[in-house]
């Protein structure tokens, strides 16, 4: 089993009200020096079987059609090494 991570972010030119709210809150809480915050979504998909090109293509499809709203969001797909998965599950 391997884990594939899909990160979904609003496109850079799209307003991110949540990120802005976080950014505005930071100095009030004493955290200085952060000029911008963008907030996104991370999906961790546990894939049955090998993560080959076909599997990645399928994940790309599902990310494009379901996980991300590509009118306003971009996404990236990356495979996390199985070792990391094992590490995390200890």
């Amino acid at each position: 089993m391997a884990r594939v991570v899909v990160d979904v972010m609003l496109k850079p030119e799209i307003l991110d009200p949540q990120g802005q709210a976080v950014q505005r809150a930071l100095p009030r809480l004493g955290f200085e020096g952060i000029s911008d915050v963008r907030q996104g979504k991370r999906f961790e998909l546990e894939v049955d079987g090998p993560v080959d090109e076909a599997a990645l293509a399928r994940i790309h499809d599902l990310a494009e059609s379901f996980l991300a709203n590509t009118v306003i969001e971009d996404f990236t797909v990356k495979v996390e090494s199985e070792a990391v998965v094992a590490e995390a599950s200890k």
């Binding site: 609003l10 496109k11 307003l15 009200p17 009118v71 306003i72």
Partner: protein
């Protein structure tokens, strides 16, 4: 940044031969030549950006202007009108020192591309129009039209639009009190998402958009400016000026309702302290529009330093900053000694505010960037003296055939059983079915002043808690009627909205409209538009309700197929005491049902012809505006004097639709008798205009009859509120439970 050389006015004058992408920005060759002629040189990139957005159909009304003039020329005398067409929104006197401003606009295309954000920012835009007049927004309404209810794309678009409207409005704390939802295959790919807003203020608080007084400061406040909605400007930026930029800018904007809420409170506080000379919201065309309109409506010129505009994205070019449609921004003109206080208020509300320029005593709009002058224009040529087209229009060839295809010839039900089956099919059809699943996603009652909301005939809001003064707003439009005859169709929309306001007991005062049509370059569409405007202007003149403003949305078409011509009309009314309102629901068993008005055999464009025969042809119902006026007077008097306990206007679906709605809402049935001279089918399903059904307490029957008799309004006793069925004597009987199942299950089954 490696932007060399900056395209300043000087640079433009020195390099007359540089080719600019005017065609890509949507300008025609003669329009570009006109700009060169006005300036006496080629425009700079920034100037071209401004002209191209301000001279677009959306901002300049270049195709519709010649027709819209009629709203001014035919405007009836009306003492209630405080501010007419041309401002951000019209303002109407509703008495007791209160004024109300209201307007309807479209956000059609963005809502198709990205339903949630498109619809949400549509609400945001209309709300800013209302605050720019100095009014506190108190309610919103949303007339919506989608493709066929069972089309898969409708299931994508509708839930997003509804969630977007609900989300934005709920976050702002504004009740949604009215509107419509209509399905028709003609809106496939071109859904109509119109949004209206009502605002209330005291007379002395009306504000107009203008910049006067040299030395006054121009303050941009609200959200930072980002790359939203500047698809066109990126052409200027990436291809002509700087190839390193991201080439695709989205045409979609994302709104932030909490920022808008701060903007409302901050603006109203600044108004209350009389800190504002002029104000303008930033909507379509963003800063290009706000600066050129403020300057051209004032007495002087304006100088703006674009470097001072707070940016969300530091890579934006000046052209993009001028064209950006980032949401939740406003522009105010403030006297120098009041600037500090204004900025203080903005800081209190956590709203970013920046002085970006000042009013000058010249007559030019000058914009600077990195020390260079990139815009030097007469603001009037940008904002008001755009191109005006007398587009050719012609009655389409198919119009005669369409009108000859008489719906009266369609096969009618042959038996009582068939009639009953058709009635059940009608009340369950998507257009006639209960829209509760949609409207209950909106907050109707936030702020605690909502008196009536969907599915009542019009929304009603209490304006003054002590006196009970209130306003009512109804929106209506029937694309099927307008397709058959645009002149009559527009008047029918007006008549229905007018009637809906009166049915609740309010006196109709003024009109706003949102005119949704196909491409003006098609002479047939242009004819529909011209006819609809003529019909609406004539109708408003006759009813004494002036058009105070509105919006035109053209190019609602895919390929050759235009939407039905769809003029949506909003009528605003006033009621002295909202406690006197008349609801739709039956209140008490034993009350007598009266049908007001005349019923003729009119089935052209009717719901019955659509649901049973999938037919559109013939002529729409006749309009008699004098009759509408009389009916309204009777409904208002009867409400004021307590002679009726419920009332419902008759429109699509006819009498049976109205009775079913009143019965289901009240949980009480009715026994109906077909009046002499009518057959059951016509009685139940004809869509003759100028009618309403009212429930009269027995103790008031004589008085009510006397009033109708004396005023000459036909009033026919058709039955009584009774039991838990709807019985049409001698025809059929159907239980409320069966009707409720038919009426309320349709929409959730299709969309939930």
């Amino acid at each position: 940044m490696s932007r060399t050389p900056l395209d300043t006015v000087e640079h433009a004058a020195a390099t007359p031969d540089v080719e600019l992408p005017w065609a890509e920005l949507g300008l025609k060759k003669d329009e570009y030549e006109r700009i060169v002629e006005i300036l006496g040189r080629r425009p700079t990139g920034a100037e071209l950006a401004m002209y191209s957005v301000m001279w677009s159909e959306h901002c300049s009304y270049k195709s519709s202007k010649v027709h819209l003039r009629q709203f001014g020329e035919k405007a009836p005398e009306n003492d209630a009108l405080l501010v007419g067409i041309g401002e951000n929104a019209g303002v109407v006197d509703v008495g007791q020192g209160y004024a109300v401003t209201f307007k309807v606009e479209s956000h059609n295309h963005p809502s198709y591309v990205e339903p949630y954000q498109g619809a949400a920012t549509g609400v945001g835009g209309i709300v800013r129009d209302i605050i720019a007049m100095g009014a506190r927004p108190v309610a919103v309404v949303d007339p919506l039209r989608f493709g066929a209810a069972d089309h898969p794309d409708t299931k994508r678009v509708l839930p997003g639009v509804v969630a977007g409207i609900g989300g934005y409005g709920n976050c702002l704390g504004l009740p949604n009190i009215g509107g419509e939802v209509v399905f028709d295959a003609c809106y496939q790919g071109n859904p109509l998402v119109n949004a209206g807003c009502i605002g209330v203020m005291r007379h002395e608080d009306i504000h107009l958009a203008k910049a006067s007084g040299a030395g006054n400061k121009v303050i941009l406040y609200g959200a930072r400016t980002g790359g939203d909605g500047i698809g066109g400007a990126s052409i200027l930026a990436s291809e002509t000026f700087d190839d390193a930029k991201p080439s695709k800018r989205p045409a979609v904007q994302v709104g932030d309702p909490f920022q808008e809420k701060l903007l409302i409170e901050c603006t109203l506080e600044a108004f209350a302290e009389k800190l504002v000379v002029g104000i303008q919201d930033l909507g379509a065309a963003g800063l290009s529009c706000a600066t050129s309109e403020l300057a051209s409506n004032g007495s002087g010129g304006m100088r703006v330093t674009l470097d001072d505009v707070p940016l969300r994205d530091s890579t934006l070019s000046p052209e993009e900053i001028l064209m950006s449609e980032s949401q939740e921004r406003m522009c105010a003109v403030v006297e120098p000694e009041k600037v500090d206080r204004f900025l203080e208020i903005c800081a209190k509300w956590d709203v970013i505010a920046t002085v970006i320029g000042e009013v000058t005593d010249g007559d030019r709009l000058e914009i600077y960037w990195h020390g260079g002058k990139i815009v030097d224009v007469d603001p009037r040529t940008v904002a008001h003296e755009g191109p005006v087209y007398e587009r050719p229009y012609a009655r389409p060839e198919w119009q005669d055939a369409l009108q000859a295809d008489d719906a009266g010839k369609l096969p009618r039900p042959q038996s009582a059983e068939e009639l009953k089956a058709q009635v059940l099919k009608l009340v369950a059809s998507p257009n006639q079915a209960s829209k509760k699943w949609i409207t209950q996603q909106y907050d109707h009652f936030v702020q605690g002043n909502t008196v009536l909301a969907m599915p009542e005939d019009s929304g009603m809001i209490r304006v003054d808690e002590k006196t009970g003064l209130g306003v009512a707003l109804a929106t209506d439009g029937n694309g099927r009627y307008a397709k058959l005859d645009p002149y009559t169709g527009a008047q029918l929309a007006l008549a229905e909205a007018y009637r809906n306001v009166a049915t609740t007991g309010a006196k109709p005062l003024a009109v706003s409209d949102c005119l949704n049509f196909g491409s003006p370059e098609d002479p047939a569409v242009m004819w529909q538009f011209a006819e609809a405007v003529r019909g609406l202007a004539d109708g408003c003149q006759q009813l004494g309700t002036p058009v105070t403003g509105g919006n035109v949305s053209l190019y609602n078409q895919t390929g050759e197929a235009a939407i039905h011509p769809t003029p949506v009309v909003a009528v605003l009314g006033v009621i002295d005491d909202v406690a006197r309102r008349t609801p739709v629901a039956f209140q008490e068993e034993g009350q007598l049902l009266y049908l007001l008005g005349d019923t003729r055999e009119e089935f052209g464009g009717s719901a019955w012809s659509q649901v049973v025969h999938d037919h559109l042809g013939g002529l729409p119902p006749k309009v008699d505006l004098e009759r509408e006026r009389l009916l309204a007077e009777i409904l208002i008097s009867a409400s004021r004097d307590g002679m009726i306990d419920s009332a419902h206007d008759l429109s699509d679906g006819g009498l049976v639709q109205a009775v079913v709605e009143s019965a289901l809402l009240g949980g009480k049935g009715a026994r109906l008798v077909v009046p002499d001279g009518l057959d059951a089918f016509t009685f139940l399903l004809s869509e003759s205009a100028g009618r309403a059904v009212v429930a009269v307490p027995r103790s008031e029957e004589v008085r009510f009859n006397d009033m109708c008799g004396a005023r000459g309004l036909p009033a026919t006793r058709i039955g009584v509120v009774d039991g838990d069925t709807i019985e049409v004597q001698g025809e059929f009987e159907v239980t409320l439970a069966e009707l409720r199942e038919a009426h309320e299950a349709t929409i959730p089954a299709l969309l939930a």
